[in-house]
């Protein structure tokens, strides 16, 4: 039978009830959903349907080169790999209805490296290799899917997210756009010797707010902006013919063309600058201004940050809170990633905290004692979402305990007032009183040091809980040196104390990811939380706890979960592949949580971290399940490492 006949024939059999029914079933899943009808019919009628009882081996390395393309019709299949460190095997992945395997081995014409076992009673459709090869040549959706494997799944999620964003705002760009791809004006530049008045005339003629001063090889040596002009005039400079190099800001901040618009926005917000040079191979390519980013995003991030930083009164800060909500809302709609958003929320929150402290100092009078404002928990990890409460403290230097007590008496009223002011700005007061106004959290460096040492020495449940909050610390306002010393002491103590590490590990296994052995998700059985699972406690916490433990035990100073994971990969503590999978999984759960918060805000509902997996679309649900499974893997690696 010629190829064309075969497909004409397939068209006819597609009317058979069982062929039709099986096609309908497959049409719910990628890549079948995109396949042509005749190709799908051809696939189905060349399939065998096979049953595997729970525990049966479906495919194993000893079977030799793979002869079939498998699609799970019903049930679950586990991939089992010999355990790297221990006898026995570990489950590396799970495949359920509509999913297929083993793509890499089939395309590579080799045996599978992983044994595939039926995790429960399972039916699979088996397509012979010959028919698969023929379809592979004909059907591009099948080919793309097979070649890209799981990554094509992630692509589809991203495409969906961007599609949704485009629907919401009709936006063409996202903050991910590379600076090199933005259509920016040719930069206005001049030589260092150009007189001030000529440089300003040039800016005026070109309608730009900045001029970049370059050397003969076109390398930027300085920048002069309208803001600088204001300063120069205000300082009473009367000689307008002075060379620009005497008045410019030296060594302007620059980014490569590969950097994203997001990077530029963050740099502006962090550094309080309005212009970023784009430099490629040491040559000036372009200048990105605040205004370019506004027109790109219509999201006033930089402006918002500087408004917060210069807010004249507490009331103005309070009013700005809703703008932060709006900004996050828009960024989510633009398809910004959860990492970008937590980063921005943290940044804006930091600005708000700093401004609140400054305003309170102005208000109550500066006691003239240097101190650092610490934050803990999610704020310390830079992982805040809109829904945030206070976890803070104060660190100061004192010669002895008596002096510490005296300083504390003077700082406490100020700290309590700052806590109250922060509450007015939307930072909910901490129920557990983890706040700087609490005498136990307004301490000198040696007091903090003793307190942390006792956490490590006496591993009571309360101390373990405390360490999971306090050990994610950083300075928001004030000198950072004291905190850095505190942290390095802490890392030394923990590195030496394996018993404490083991207790932390036990603690990190408290929250088990809700992926069951017999069903895909384990959801609450009854009550108001029926059929839901907790994205934060059951999904994110295992990653946060696991990364903290490994970071503390291996001298990693970072406090952010993703930064910790990256540092641990670099140090070789966790394998690069595992670490990358953890990152992706953490990221996806956080993203799902934020999208849910955004939706709740839109509907005027209170924020909740509980989600009904059945309410997610098929793809999201599948990836969420895989993400929870990664959390499970991280936990079992901890259990193994600490012999729990």
């Amino acid at each position: 039978m010629s190829k064309n006949d075969a497909f004409a024939e397939a068209g006819k059999t597609a009317v058979l009830q069982n062929i039709h029914g099986t096609m309908e079933f497959l049409r719910k899943y990628p890549p079948f959903i995109q396949m042509e009808n005749a190709h799908l019919a051809y696939l189905v009628e060349h399939c065998q349907l096979r049953f595997y009882a729970a525990g049966d081996s479906i495919l194993k390395p000893e079977d030799g080169p793979v002869e079939h393309f498998f699609i799970v019709k019903q049930g679950r299949v586990h991939g089992e790999r010999p355990h790297s460190a221990r006898r026995g095997t570990e489950t590396t992945f799970e495949i359920t209805a509509g999913e297929c395997f083993p793509l890499a081995a089939l395309i590579g014409e080799r045996a599978t490296r992983t044994e595939h076992l039926a995790a429960e009673d399972t039916f699979c459709l088996l397509l012979g290799k010959e028919a698969f090869v023929r379809l592979f040549a004909l059907s591009s959706p099948l080919r793309d899917f097979a070649l890209r494997g799981v990554s094509s799944l992630l692509d589809q999620v991203n495409q969906q997210a961007q599609l949704r964003a485009a629907e919401t705002l009709g936006a063409e760009y996202s903050l991910d756009t590379r600076l090199g791809e933005l259509t920016l004006q040719t930069p206005v530049s001049c030589a260092p010797a150009m007189p001030l008045n000529e440089a300003v005339r040039l800016m005026h003629e070109q309608h730009v707010g900045s001029i970049v001063i370059v050397d003969p090889s076109d390398q930027p040596v300085g920048i002069f902006t309208l803001r600088d002009l204001r300063r120069v005039i205000a300082e009473g400079c009367s000689d307008l013919s002075r060379p620009i190099e005497q008045l410019m800001t030296q060594k302007p901040f620059h980014l490569p063309p590969e950097a994203s618009a997001f990077d530029a926005a963050i740099a502006m917000t962090e550094r309080h600058i309005a212009h970023v040079c784009v430099v490629e191979k040491k040559r000036l390519r372009a200048v990105v201004s605040e205004r370019d980013l506004f027109s790109l995003q219509r999201v006033d991030l930089v402006h918002l940050a500087s408004t917060i930083r210069h807010a004249p009164r507490l009331e103005s800060l309070t009013a700005l809170r809703s703008d932060i909500g709006l900004l996050v809302d828009r960024m989510l709609a633009h398809g910004a990633s959860s990492t970008q958003i937590t980063h921005i929320v943290t940044l804006l929150n930091d600005h708000t905290v700093c401004r609140v402290i400054e305003l309170t100092l102005e208000d109550m009078g500066n006691p003239g004692i240097p101190f650092s404002w610490l934050c803990f928990g999610s704020e310390g990890r830079r992982e805040q979402t809109l829904h945030t409460d206070q976890d803070n403290g104060i660190l100061f230097e004192a010669a002895d305990d008596a002096e510490a007590a005296a300083i504390r008496q003077r700082l406490l009223p100020l700290a309590a007032q700052i806590n109250q002011h922060l509450a007015q700005c939307g930072f909910t007061l901490c129920k557990g009183n983890i706040m700087a106004g609490n005498p136990e959290l307004c301490l000198s460096r040696s007091e903090w040091s003793r307190r942390f040492a006792s956490f490590v020495r006496e591993a009571t449940p309360a101390n373990l809980l405390g360490s999971s909050i306090y050990f994610d610390l950083r300075v928001v306002w004030g000198d950072e040196q004291g905190c850095a010393q505190l942290r390095s002491q802490l890392l030394e103590q923990i590195a030496d104390n394996t018993l404490f590490q083991r207790m932390l590990a036990e603690n990190a296994l408290r929250h088990r990811p809700p992926v069951g052995r017999f069903r895909d998700f384990v959801v609450a059985r009854k009550g108001a939380q029926k059929d839901t699972l907790d994205l934060k406690v059951e999904g994110l916490t295992p990653f946060v706890d696991g990364a903290r433990l490994l970071a503390l035990a291996h001298g990693v100073e970072a406090s952010n979960t993703l930064e910790r994971l990256r540092a641990l990969m670099e140090a070789g503590v966790i394998e690069t592949q595992d670490g990358a999978a953890y990152e992706e999984a953490y990221h996806f759960i956080q993203q799902t949580r934020m999208q849910q918060h955004q939706q709740q805000a839109r509907l005027g509902q209170p924020y909740s971290n509980r989600v009904d997996p059945d309410s997610l679309n098929h793809l999201d649900r599948r990836i969420l399940r895989e993400s929870f499974r990664q959390a499970q893997r991280l936990q079992s690696s901890l259990a193994l490492r600490y012999q729990l």
């Binding site: 069982n18 079933f25 065998q48 459709l125």
Partner: protein
Amino acid sequence: MNLAWFRGKGPQLDEHQRERLGRLLAAEVPDDRPLGQQRLVVLDLETSGLNMRRDLVLSIGAVVIRDDAIDLGEQFEVTLLRPVQPVSESVLIHGIAPSALAAGCDPAQALLDFMEFLGPSPLLAFHAGFDQRMLARALKQTLGYRLQHRFLDVAEMAPMLFPDSKPRHGGLDDWTEHFHLQVHQRHHASADALVTAELALILFSHARRQGIDSLAALDSRLEHWRRRQNAQML
């Protein structure tokens, strides 16, 4: 309208049909071959009602189990040309529209096609006794053919192999639900045949674990089980 079946006095077959009838293979006797090497045809009939003497076969669906798998490329599905049936409750069950019956295949043709598809293979069905008698009567009336193929009853195998999980009524719906099987369209002959075949694969897998791996062994175990069931009833 073809009313040959109605005249009762022996079927009216043309030359070609008689030739085909003569070439049909004799039925196999269940033997000791491992189940994996046995071709089995899983059958489901939709009928105009449950009266085995009066009601008619309206459609035939069949799938093949071979090499321990269901081959989706080898299926049989036919709707028979029947005179307009009184619209009764059974229409609501099998859901075959009168128009579909009117557009159906000539019964002699359809039954010959099926017997050629069947070949010498033993048959499996759920409540096999009903399908066996309905099919035998249709073959007798339409083709003058005497059906001698062996039938195995999946409805009987299931409670024998899974005595502890026997659902309350033991119907096809109960067992499909018990094993979480999906039926594309219940009471469609082909779809019911497919789900019966899926059930059979589960049963065979279980039987093999109990050391039963041939039709002969299955047959004798069923015999034994039937006697014990009867003894318990008494």
